[in-house]
Amino acid sequence: MHKTIGQINDRIRDGSARVVTAEEMPAIVAELGEEKALKEVDVVTTGTFGAMCSSGAFLNFGHAEPPIRMERIWLNNVEAYGGLAAVDTYIGATQESDTQGKEYGGAHVIEDLISGKTVELRASSRGTDCYPRRTLTTELALENLNQAVMCNPRNAYQRYNAATNTTDRVLNTYMGTLLPGNGNITYSGAGLLNPLSNDPKLRLIGSGVPIFLCGGPGIVVGEGTQHSPAGGFGTLMVTGDLKQMSQEYLRAATMTGYGVTMYVGLGIPLPVLDLDVVRATAVRDEDISVDIMDYGVPSRNRPSLRKVTYAELRSGAVELNGEEIRTSSLSSFRRARQVAAELKQWVESGKMTLALPTRPIDPAKQNRPMHQTKSSPKVLEIMDKKVVSVGEDEEITTAAKKLLKGETNHLPVINSGKVLVGIVTTFDISKAVANPGKAHLVRDIMKTKVITTTPDEAVDIAIQKLEKNNISALPVIDEKSHVVGILTAMNLGKLVGGRWLK
């Protein structure tokens, strides 16, 4: 048996369609069996509500008198794109305010417009014969705009890897606050309610399919950027009319230490055409797994610590290396449910009918990393290869002499096996001299907690280490912890010499 989209739309129009949410579907299929569920259910509604950074809106302001061809544009001091001819712009959600920084950004401008607040538009231009005006300032509300069209390049991630942190300091990431020593696990995603997880083969979701977007009707444009469904990470590009949206389903947010983002509520109604749809929409949280990634590794290829299902993540704690680690969601399951419930009501009342894709989305695509023609500078290229070190059992005076002779402020300390065991600075030695006491040997005054780098580490990562730890040198070690160089703030001068910043 199968149903056509026409039959389902007829039932929606005459009010007889049976609509359920993706959360209700697994139990229905378990109770009735697949055949009866297909007969019984016409539409399954999905929903998700979470941080979707890659979002924004096209705005048209209408022409001013005298007219202006806007080249640089700010909305409440948040810069918007000025390359779309005279009076159009695109405001991106993550763009931050020139005056308030991370506490206010493009997402806040969009939320303010939707909630009925006025926003200050400032623009400048060089002035042309046809557009003589050079500057403009005005207050605008959403109703004053000709068009306000949300267009989000990458939304509705099918799933998202969870995050933890094996380092010994707090990390502030787009996955929220990650406590040191795997102190917590954060995750995002609506699991069994997620639109793409209910249609992983992309049979029903594609260009032209009607959706719920931030409280208003929207449409799928096509595949989203970074779309990678081969590995279970599909995304969608979506659009909708800002004027029909509600603050309930769109919220600006700031991830501390990271920046501005926008919480988007998005849902897709799925027509139950055949048994394949029944099986796909019966997906449970237990069936959807992601990796727990170590965000302590500052690389594109973060190591996975284990696989975990949304059911485990949502239980509140996950076992990692024999320990129960508490979990935090960054997306809201409650609001995802509200999206699916409101969408259900839209379909039941005939406010929204369904459509099949006018153009399908590739279900097998694999996202590629960036093609880089120049590799980023490595520590090896700028480190000091001539490094003076001192033995842990040598006298403090020996260390002092070495520091003077080597004209350096940092002395790596090694043991008899030439393995790095500590570091002493001119400060440590001055302190030992100023307060003469029991300390005679280098090992008595050295700092044993040494932050290090390796020759093939990217310079940007090493700089991050210097900054975060408020230090000015990093011993460079090989895999046996032998010191092969030292990277100091002085070496970084080579970077601004123009060698890499062409």
Partner: protein
């Protein structure tokens, strides 16, 4: 009842908390404390009926004492019930109820402020 005790350590580094325990006989629970060479701040918990006694004693010893009636301030209109606060809280103040709505057990809060930074929606703040 929770009390926020602030003191300067300029004059003679008096053991204010220990002194207050001995003078009043009240067992004080130190929930959190930041004390350096010149000043200190401690959040202490005492039984409700002895709150006034401890507060007065500490004030006499030169500390500034503020009675905290509330834990972290929660702005429900900004909250989207994501739960980012849940795992960063050392006292398990936050949890989800059966409908995935955020629930606060305010009495457990020690005003450490960890959740304030973790909240993407600025729905949590420390009372001044």
């Amino acid at each position: 009842m929770k009390l926020l005790v602030t003191f300067s350590r300029g004059k003679g580094r008096k053991p204010i908390i220990a002194q207050a325990v001995r003078d009043t006989g009240v067992l004080i629970n130190v929930e959190r404390a930041v004390i350096d060479s010149s000043e200190g701040e401690a959040l202490i918990e005492v039984p409700d009926d002895q709150c006034r006694l401890v507060s007065d004693t500490m004030s006499t010893l030169g500390a500034h004492v503020r009675i905290l009636d509330h834990g972290v301030s929660y702005d429900e209109s900004e909250c989207v019930d994501c739960g980012a606060c849940i795992s960063v809280c050392p006292r398990e103040v936050f949890s989800f109820d059966a409908d995935w709505k955020l629930h606060l057990d305010e009495g457990r809060c020690i005003l450490c402020g960890k959740c304030v930074d973790a909240c993407p929606h600025r729905a949590l703040s420390l009372p001044l």
